[in-house]
Structures are given as structure tokens and as C-alpha cells.
Subunit: 498 residues, 2 copies
Amino acid sequence: MIRALFLFFSIVTVLCDNQYAEKRQKIIEDERRISLGGNIKLTDKEEAVNKCIMKYKHSELDFAFDNPQFFNFSHHYFLYKEFIPNSKVFKIIKNMPKGAVLHVHDMGILGPDYLLNVTYMDNLYVCFQTNGPQFRFAYKTPSIACSGQWQLMSEARRRSRNIRDFDARLRKYFTLVVGDPDTVYPSITESWTVFMDYFVTVAPLLSYRPVWEQYFYDTLLKLKNENIMYVEVRSVLPILYELDGTEYDQTVTAKAYKKATTKFVNDYPEFVGAKLIYAPPRKVDKATLTNYLDTARKIKEDIPEFFAGFDLVGQEDLGKPLIEFAPQLLAAASEFNYFFHAGETDWYGCHTDDNLIDAILLGAKRIGHAYALPKHPVLMREVVNKDIGLEVNVISNAVLSLVRDVRNHPLNIFLANDLPVVLSSDDPGVWEADAISDDFYVAFVGIASKTADLRMLKALAINSLKYSVLDSKGKTNALNRFNLHWNQFINNFNCSSY
Amino acid sequence: MIRALFLFFSIVTVLCDNQYAEKRQKIIEDERRISLGGNIKLTDKEEAVNKCIMKYKHSELDFAFDNPQFFNFSHHYFLYKEFIPNSKVFKIIKNMPKGAVLHVHDMGILGPDYLLNVTYMDNLYVCFQTNGPQFRFAYKTPSIACSGQWQLMSEARRRSRNIRDFDARLRKYFTLVVGDPDTVYPSITESWTVFMDYFVTVAPLLSYRPVWEQYFYDTLLKLKNENIMYVEVRSVLPILYELDGTEYDQTVTAKAYKKATTKFVNDYPEFVGAKLIYAPPRKVDKATLTNYLDTARKIKEDIPEFFAGFDLVGQEDLGKPLIEFAPQLLAAASEFNYFFHAGETDWYGCHTDDNLIDAILLGAKRIGHAYALPKHPVLMREVVNKDIGLEVNVISNAVLSLVRDVRNHPLNIFLANDLPVVLSSDDPGVWEADAISDDFYVAFVGIASKTADLRMLKALAINSLKYSVLDSKGKTNALNRFNLHWNQFINNFNCSSY
């Protein structure tokens, strides 16, 4: 406070040199104006809300500026995540309508407690191998190869004699969160290995058809409860199965989504809906890609209104670069919206950041991550000119070892230049984050300028609808509903209740 | 290799779609052309050298790409510095003429072994306090306040009975290097505290007049041996003293520099010389700043040809923002070249990165660090328009806790946009780095694009002369000499000798 007063008087002193003060003010205002949300005009009521948010934000930042050793965002997310719910800024953000989530992977959303509950369902078999449990729902003992013994989960749990310990040990396979992340995840190799193991472990749990349908319904509920109104979900489309071993083809998986969404929108008509991005693994050969594209075609034909487009997933450095698939993808470009993961890497001048070039040339509607983009000034211009959405996932990038102190995350550069940013959460359940609120909080307090305010938050929410694949009527409808919710949020806002 | 071949054939396949391939190639070439050094044409001989350097660089990067857990540059500098001398790229860089060093602090250059040697000089007294040793050269026991006992260093060493252990313990006060940096320096608070303690400890060792003169001579020798031809050194200008307690004023300190430089250039006429930037601490009041500026005037009057300009130093977040001094600095702007430290911070929208605005408005000729610049698009444009040199110190920024994985250092953005970058080393002795070669190596292999080559290295060397304060005749002379050395380096280059 004393510092602020002192600074104020210093600035006033300099005001004596009018020219200097004017030039200085012009720079500050120019930078604010060209930043994301910089042109938004707030209503009086919004101004009041903004004042409250900024009071809380500045209180967090002023403390951290004076005590940088306690600044959470300079440390690993796992070391501060438990304190986030105490933040008043976070509580406000959680209540705030945030529009849509456009970059999220189906099996990484609901988190370990949900998954642990699934293991209490009937007919679940487990086989404990040295590298973790293998699961399968079935009427009888599965004949799937396993280095351990298949047994009923209920039996295994009963025999453990200490169910609390048993469940605690089991739960660890459903999360990346650990108490000593800097030791457990010294590099991208370790974090991605555990991350991939997670999916291998949970896929057979979730792809049991009744679980799958319920899981996605519950996903939508979690999103709705965080004031999200629409989602475009990525899926590898695992093969669904029944207790008798029946396996379906992938169009059934896609349709299960639609079914769950229809039911959900029926139950909660204020929710706009969901669409599906088919996003199979990128570490495959060309023949497999051809099959992928055929599957995409089938799904698009089956459920055109539910199908959003195509992407490829997996640790980008280890996967195939897009250029290898460029002829095939180019040939199919008129059929599909592309949402390629590209530049999710710290490397520079390697095929991983070159994926940004191909994502753009292949006509991607949005790019997943685009972490490496600021090193590519020509591509940055292309992104602006072609208005390509950038799906930024800050906690994911921190947890998956791209950046430690999130103040070094390129999102701050995207925000400063008003790039078409869409904030998302990638796999929030895997790191036990909220569906999207944690990412908004980290971005708003940890990454954006101290001066970034409600304008930026509102712009991010609006961007998430603007860069969705909703058609123009759908977008208008979604934006109208968003404004309705937004105004409710503003009108009901009570600073002292936080 | 197989990956590279595979990639090559994929690109060839895409070439079938000529338009796609052309667009892709154009983007790659446009980005190369607008990057630092992108327009340099290499001679045939330079091309041969380049081929050798790139072979070694790619061999390091290809291994790291496939084994990111072993990529040194993603870890703390202290954890990989011992391996640097094994790198062939490093050996080449060490031999390569690198032009000038423009951002380096006098007392942080020569390193702990040099300082330990100084403690073997006669007439040195030491007082061991709980937080470290206090030193003073004197004829008799100093009467300077100290919580321990003053004794002759030679006596203390003799009484220790184990000189090796004694010296090893003593040496720790002369370096930041530790085996477990992530534990010792969890945040900027810890690294800067130890960093500041270093200066408090070594100042009385170095400011004994005979040591001071020799120290700077030896500094120039170290620079010359790393193929540096010119330096602009920053100094707080400590008060020099004699054994009998005589203390001089700061102009004597400045003149001692000139004396050492004259002697050095006499001994090594191929060395261009040195100039002084007076850079006292920034955490002071306005009256003290007035005194600083008076001192600067006196020095400029005394040794105009040796005096380069003015700056303020210290942990920027904790120091006074430039805006507080703006009226005084603006009034003196016609008298001095300014080289302000600004934006040496991870904060965004705080007074520390706002220092970038004031540095520019106050007419800084160069900016120290400018780490926060990419978050300020308007200021980035100003830097280009006004051609303000950016003194980038990558290892310093890593050691002093701004960034962990240096691939997140903003230098890559500066390089991609051909900003006026001058690579420097800040306080290499404090982290036991070479005078400048380590910084070049980390920048070239760890930060710049994999495709950045000899053009970039040459451009960095030329920038260091271009952005010096040498007058136009001096610059022409320096550039001629540089070209001479450069051509010698190229002509004598033998790839197999590395």
C-alpha cells in the first residue's frame, strides 16, 4: 500500500513532464487495447463486479510480489492445488459462466474418486500385474492375457482386509497427483509415461457400455455445475463391450455419446449440448490413418449433427509428424473440420513444432496447444489472418513438463496480442483439477497481466463459443444463453459473500 | 537417422501436391529469413565450417529429442555445467571470435578459484561470522565491526590444520554452484539472497587497490582468451583502499580500470579495449540518485573516452522502479548513454516489467535483460524502431530463478524476430561459467532453433560490436579486426580436430 502510494506520487511528479507522462500512458493504453478483451466495455454493474475481482486478485499478487518464495504458480501444480479452493478469485471464477470447453479428452475428465467408485460395480474383474491393475467387466473370469491372476474385484477388495488402504493404493493408478512431483516427474519422459499408463488402466473400466454412457452423462453434469454450457469432446472412441464379451464397432461408441447427450439436454435444457472430435493416436502408419478417416466418415454419416471433426493424439514428440500424413489429410480436408494437436512441445525447429505449419496448411479450424507458436512469427500472423482458435491448456502443459513457473507459459503472449485463445483443460481429472475453473484461475492470476480483469475473463468465455463448430444459428443461440447467464451472474453478484 | 530418412520421403511425397509443398517451404524460408542472421550469406569456407558445427549440434539434439530425460538444458545449469566442456559444439564456440561482451558486472567475472587465490595474499585479515567471512587487507587488525574475531588469514588457514578442507569451505562463499540447486534455490528469494551475499563477501577482497587493478587486467585476459575483443563493464565503483586504511573516491576506482585497460591493450594490441558503465544500486532514494549522477558526471569529465554510460542494478523486483527516478533521469538524458536493467522478471503488469516502458522512454541505448519484453507487443515494436540493443544473459536468468527449462527463455522469440540481441553473461564467475562461451553454447544448442546455424552465431558476434558505444571510427576498426579474426578462425578450422 505504501509502495503503491509512493509510486502514485512518483508518477504524478513525472506528470510535470507532460509529454513523458502522455507517451507512457499511451503505451500502457495501447497495450491494454490490443490485448484479449481490451475493447470490451463493461456496464456499471460489471464494473462493480470487476472492482471486487481485482481487489482479490491484487491482494493475492501483492502478497506474492513481496514474498515470491510463496508464489504458488512458480511451483508445480501438485504443490499448490490444495490451496486453490481457498482463493476468493477462484470461487468467483467457479461461479462465473465460462462458455464452452473445446479441448478435453473424454477419459481424462472425471478423476480418481469417480473411477474408484466404478470399481465397486458388480461383475468387475481385476488382475494385478507388477506395473498396475488390469480391469474387465464380465460374467466370468476373463481370458485376457495377464501376468497375474484374474479375480473378482469385490473378492480382491474383501480379501485385502483393509479396504481403506486397498482403495488408497488403487486410487493412485487413477491420478498423476503425488506429493513430490519434482522427484517423480523430473522430465517429460516420466510424466508422459505415467500419463499414458493412466489411459491403459482406465480404458477397460470406462469402455464397458453401461459405464461409458453414464460416465459421459456425469461428465456433462460436472461441466454444467462449473457453469459450462457446451463441450466439444475428443475421443479415441474405444470399443465398447458387454458382460458377455460382445464388442461393438466405434460408431456405437460415438452414438453412445449422442445418446447420453440427448438424455442430459433433456434433463437440463439450459445446457446447449456436446459434439465429438474423433481423435485417435498419432503414432500409426498410413494404412491405419486411412482406416481412421474411414471411421470418421462413417460417424459423420451416422450422426452428422453430433460429429465435429478430426484430430490425432498422443505425446507429440514421439508421434508421427503431420507432414507424413499430409497427402491423406489434405485429400480429406474438404470432408472434415481439423483440430490438430500441434506445437505441444518445448522443442524448436524439430518436427513437433513444424506440426504447426502443417496444421495451418491443412486448414485446421483450431489448433490444440500451439505452445511453440510464439517462436514462429510467420505462423502467428497466419493464425490471426485465418482466425484459427488456439486451444490453450495451461495446467496440462505444467503437469506434462513443458513449463515449471507458469509465468513463462506462452499464453501471456497470446493474451497480450489478442490471439484467438480458447482456454481449456485437456485432462483435468488426471491431475484432479476442476473441469475448467482451475485453468481459468491459473491463467487469470498466474499468467495474465496483473492488470487483466473481467474483460479478459468475459472475452475468454465468448471466444470459447465463437471458436466452437456450432453453426451460425447455434452460435447465436449459445451466445444469447451465455449473455443470459452472464447477466444473472453479474446481477446476483455479492462481493462480500466470497 | 531412419526417422530423418522417413521424414524426407514423406516430404517428397507431399511434394506431389506442389502448391502445398511450396507454401510449406515458403513459410520455413520466410521464418529463416526474418530470424537473426537469416540474411547472412556464408562463403564456401564458412559453409564447410557450418556443416561441421551443424553435424555436432544435430547429433546433440537428436539424442536429446529421443531421450528428453537426458536433455541437459531442461534441468538446472548446475546439474549439467560439468558436461559442457565435453561438447564439440562448445569447443568450437570457445575458439570462435565472439566480438564483445556488453553486459557483465566487474565483481562477478573471474570466479571462486581466482578469489581463493586472492585470500593467499599478504596482509589479509578475516573475521568469520555466522553468515560468512568478512575480509579486509590492512597493516594491522581492522577495527571494522564484526560479530567474530579478526585474525590474519594466513594464521586462520594455518590453524585450521586441514588447509584443503579450510579452502573448500571458504570457496563456497565465492560461488552459487551447489550439487542440489533445486533444493537450495527453490525460488528467486533464495537465489538472489545468496547472490547478494556473494557481493558483500567479495567486495572488500577486490577493492584493495592493488587487487582491483590486477583483477581487471586478469578479467580482460580471460575475455581475450575466449576470443572476445572488447568489453563494456558495469561497476558499482566500490571505494578502493590501501593497507594503511587510505580510501579514495570513486573516480579513482574508475581510473584504475582505465589504467589496467591501457596496460592490457599495450600488452595485447589486438584487443580493442574496454569502457565503463557506472551502475550503482537501484534501491535508493532520490537524493542518492542525484549523488550517483554527480559521480557519473565527474567520471565522464575525467575519462570521457573510457566512460560509456549509466545504469542501476540490484534485484529489480525489490528495487525502485525507474518511474520514481524518471524526472531526474530524463533531465540527465542528454548527458549520458543509458543501459538500464529492465524487465528482468517473471512478473507481468507490475512495476518491474513496466521498467521496460521507462527504459525506452528515457532513451536507453540498450536494455539489460528485457526478459519480460515478449509480453509487451507495443514495446517490442519500439525496440525494433529505435534499434535498442537487448542484452540477454541466459545462464544468469536460469541460475537466478526466472526460468528452469531454457527452451522457455524468451531469447528464442527475440532470435525468431531478429530483435537487436546482444548475448552476454552477467556474472559468469559467480556460477563458474566461462566468460561468455557457456552462454553462447546454451543459447545456440539449448534455446535457438535446431536449424539456427553459423549465421546466427556470426550475427550475434557482429551485434555485440554494432550495439557497443564505440564511435563510428571505433566500430569500423573493431569490425575490421573482428573480420580478420573471423577469417582466421574459418581458414584454420579443422572439423576433425574437435
